[in-house]
């Protein structure tokens, strides 16, 4: 969301696609204004407010979730409004508290899918910036920050390493779940059946309370199905120009995979579950993503610049060196994947690829004037294969010659994924276990 806000500061009506997001003004904005702007963004409804184009909108589990959890109108748009607006003369630093409407108000904005946060956090970006912040506020082991970086550090600490203001939508931590990182890992585990590649800082080896608390409902088949979808899409792309001979591409199977993935993800969202957790996670990660997306004041102060066309992963690696933490080896792929996979998974959840005709748009590229969907999928396949080491393209080659290898292009059954781990319910800290009748 913060990357969207930086874009809105530069281009309030989203009419100039080439506009450069204004991270400097955003980072100079007071954190209470940013916190309230998030409240306004949530009230906009996000993906739940998008028309489902003739079908029922099934995003967020219940489209009413966003409306029912938002601040009441009288509070949000009066005493608690953000004042993050578009000044007449353009953005200024420090930003002024402007009259309504707030930036983005009335526009059809959406926030990213949880996969965006999962892929970005897999780079180690949160751990690196947590250490940067810690060093800035407790000592002088880093070079003295500029005032811009000082303002950024204050806002970062207030927004993501401290309990948010009471009753705000981002306020997830409580006496029941005190650690924001554990909350995010719990959401990743439930939605994708996956854990971050690095351990939770401060946790003892093997301690994974986010899995224990989730029970046996984690989507452990997600990664298998997603990889199978990528394989089938790649097969479709490879055979798109195939005019002669058997074409192993099966749009029905691709649609079935999309439908199954959509159902699996929506199952975790019933009644609006995980909506707040997702919003909180993607906003936090978008803040740090924005920090390394260009040569911001923080990047300059940490001597990690990469130039106008530089890559966020390069800046993150240089910042990691300053604090002695290496990002994930495939951070470059993960940064780009986060942007690309997010709209694809939203579309899958919205059932927009669940018919064979719709699913064909994932791989039809030959003769199509602007094959945006297929182009996105090609890039995802390339990056996913590079980031995970999964041989996605090989199966396409084998599948194109089923008779020669004796192997069908599509499996008999959907990939089953790993068996769910046995659930060990956490013991109740109060009272005693019920007596066992013998």
């Amino acid at each position: 969301m913060f990357r969207m806000l930086a874009r809105l500061i530069a281009d309030p009506d989203l009419t100039h696609p080439a506009a450069v997001p204004d991270a400097s003004t955003l980072f100079a904005t007071h954190p209470i204004q940013l916190s309230r702007w998030l409240e306004e963004a949530w009230a906009g409804g996000g993906i739940a407010n998008w028309p489902a184009f003739g079908t029922q909108n099934v995003a967020l589990g219940d489209p009413a979730a966003a409306a029912r959890l938002r601040l009441p109108n009288g509070l949000r748009d009066d005493g608690l409004r953000s004042g993050v607006t578009s000044p007449v003369g353009g953005p200024v630093i420090p930003p002024v508290f402007g009259p309504p409407p707030a930036l983005g108000d009335g526009l059809m904005l959406a926030w990213d899918h949880l996969i965006y946060a999962f892929l970005l956090e897999s780079t180690g970006i949160v751990e690196i910036f947590a250490e940067v912040l810690r060093r800035y506020v407790v000592g002088e082991t880093l070079d003295a920050p500029s005032v811009d970086t000082l303002v950024w550090a204050r806002a970062s600490e207030e927004l993501f390493f401290r309990d948010p203001p009471l009753f705000h939508i981002g306020g997830l931590t409580s006496q029941l779940r005190p650690n924001a990182r554990t909350i995010r890992r719990n959401a990743y585990w439930r939605m994708f059946g996956s854990d971050l590649p690095h351990p939770l800082p401060g946790a003892t080896a093997g301690e994974q309370p986010w899995k224990r608390d989730a029970g046996a409902v984690a989507n452990t088949r997600f990664l298998e199905l997603w990889t199978e979808l990528l394989r089938q899409v790649w097969m479709g792309i490879e055979n798109d120009r195939n005019q002669v001979g058997a074409n192993p591409t099966d749009p029905s199977y691709v649609a079935y995979l999309c439908q199954t993935l959509g159902e699996m993800l929506r199952l975790r969202r019933r009644g609006g579950m995980l909506a707040r957790e997702e919003f909180s996670a993607v906003t936090a990660l978008s803040w740090f993503h924005l920090t390394v997306e260009s040569d911001t004041a923080v990047v300059r102060d940490l001597r990690a610049t990469a130039g106008g066309t530089g890559n966020p992963a390069d800046r993150l690696a240089a910042i990691g060196q300053r604090v002695g933490i290496s990002p994930a080896r495939h951070a470059r792929e993960l940064f780009e994947l986060a942007d690309l996979v997010s709209p694809v998974l939203w579309f899958i959840e919205l059932n927009q690829f669940s018919t064979p005709a719709q699913a064909e748009t994932l791989f039809r590229i030959f003769g199509v004037l602007n094959p945006v969907v297929a182009r996105t999928m090609i890039r995802i396949v390339d990056l996913w294969q590079s980031a995970t080491g999964e041989r996605i393209k090989d199966i396409g080659i084998r599948g194109a010659q089923p008779a020669a290898t004796g192997r069908a292009a599509q499996p008999t059954r959907l990939p089953a994924g790993p068996a769910p781990a046995p659930v060990q319910a956490a013991p109740s800290p109060n009272g005693s276990s019920p007596a066992v009748r013998t």
Partner: protein, 193 residues
């Protein structure tokens, strides 16, 4: 029969010559007109062939159907809504800018140059109507309070833009500078179907 005098014979010959000359001029003129007409027909034919060749080369019939093109457009619109407008130098834009719904009147910013029609939809997906427009028009469509989204098609009938009307609370938003409000019900040449 009396013989004509040499002077009379000369006058008659002159009249005949003049008449012959007139006829000859008419024949030449008619041939020129015909030749010009033939030439114009040939030009038109060659032009038509050239256009067909260009269309067949640059705008091949898409292997995707109308519904599939709509799916692609909606995907790009969602990406735009997430703040993504393409990468690696490519600009993928599907959203219409500054579409405002004020008291049931829908006001557009100037449409893309290849826009040919605007289709209005209700939230449940029902089509409210289709309006013919020209490229660069900024139409104002009254009495459409239920419009939830609009789709712009190009001259070939392919969907090229999506727009989501921003409902304007009284006095909050300034009207877009590009959109001029008109007193007539529909833009010139607009036709509701």
């Amino acid at each position: 029969m009396a013989e004509k005098s040499p002077g009379e014979q000369s006058a008659a010959a002159s009249a005949v010559n003049e008449r012959l000359l007139q006829l000859l001029e008419q024949v030449v003129a008619n041939q020129a007109v015909q030749a010009t007409a033939n030439l114009q027909d040939e030009f038109a034919e060659r032009l038509r062939a050239a256009v067909q060749y260009r269309d067949s080369r640059d705008h091949a019939v898409s292997p995707l159907g109308y519904d599939q093109l709509q799916t692609g457009l909606r995907f790009v619109a969602l990406s735009n809504g997430l703040g993504r407008f393409g990468s690696h130098g490519e600009r993928d834009v599907a959203l219409l800018p500054a579409l405002q719904l004020d008291g049931g009147t829908l006001t557009f910013a100037p449409l893309p140059p290849d826009a040919a029609s605007v289709i209005l939809f209700r939230a449940d997906g029902e089509q409210l109507g289709e309006i013919e427009v020209g490229g660069g028009d900024a139409p104002v469509i009254p009495d459409v309070p239920d419009a939830a989204w609009v789709q712009v098609n190009d001259v070939r009938g392919n969907p090229i833009r999506l727009g989501f009307p921003r409902r304007v609370p009284a006095g909050v938003y300034a009207r877009s500078a590009g959109a001029t409000r008109r007193s007539d019900a529909r833009p010139t040449g607009a036709r509701a179907t």
